[in-house]
Amino acid sequence: MARTLITVPPSARRGEVIEIRTLIQHPMETGYRPGADGKVLARDLIRRFSCRYDDGSGSQLVFAAELYAAVAANPLISFHTVATASGTLTFTWEGDNGFMQSESVAIKVT
């Protein structure tokens, strides 16, 4: 499991726009870079990121991203969402070599 760092405000007012920041530990190997032996290192990227918000009325896609080799190692993605109701935010990263990781964070909306 790769280490992740997710910043979500623990509580928010209903209708407030909140900022979410996510960071995941990943080399994002481009597939263009030679290693110590001179051979090109195999590509190992996170290709897709998505955030779903389950506020009790079913899980809805809030934000998604397709990442390419030009995204820096340990990809940081920051975006916003509207705090509609208390629930869970689920973050999923998918990538090369079958990489897949999901993390959930609870949010309290008043």
């Binding site: 934000f63 397709e66 190692a73 993605i77 920051s78 975006f79 509207v82």
Partner: protein
């Protein structure tokens, strides 16, 4: 050798402003593939990036689109393209009215001094773009 170096530098200085105007052919082609040939207007996007970058391995960027982000009027996608990395694509973001604010930040790699383009698509079908030129002193992909 010195003469050729000086000539090279001179050419670089002269060519840079010219390069800032129109995107290169393959960059334009990558954008055209993304938009499906639709007309792209300039504006509505704010592309925040340092003008002078001393380390191309991790460059913070922030893209904001001027949009109320309501169900009636919102941004559906934002894409970033570059001119001189090995691959034209940088990242593509998918948004909607649930996003609340059309502002996205990430960190990218830049191989050399070049131009970046952000493209946004609104739900009314219009496309908007913003170009930005950056100078990179230490390139990505060289350091390990």
């Amino acid at each position: 050798m010195w003469l050729s170096l000086a000539a090279g530098l001179g050419a670089w200085v002269v060519l840079r402003p010219a390069a800032a105007q129109a995107p290169t052919e393959d960059l334009a082609a990558a954008i055209k593939t993304y938009t499906g040939g639709a007309a792209v207007r300039e504006g509505r996007i704010r592309f925040d990036i340092a003008e002078l970058i001393d380390n191309g391995n991790s460059v913070p960027i922030t893209i904001s689109v001027d949009s109320p982000m309501t169900a009636a009027s919102h941004v559906t996608s934002i894409a970033v393209f570059n001119e001189k990395n090995p691959q034209r694509d940088v990242a593509r973001f998918q948004l909607g009215p649930r996003a609340g604010r059309a502002t996205v930040s990430t960190r990218i790699r830049l191989a050399t001094t070049q131009q970046l383009v952000a493209i946004a698509r609104l739900n009314d079908g219009s496309w908007w773009s913003q170009r930005v030129d950056v100078i990179v002193t230490l390139a990505a992909c060289i350091e390990d």
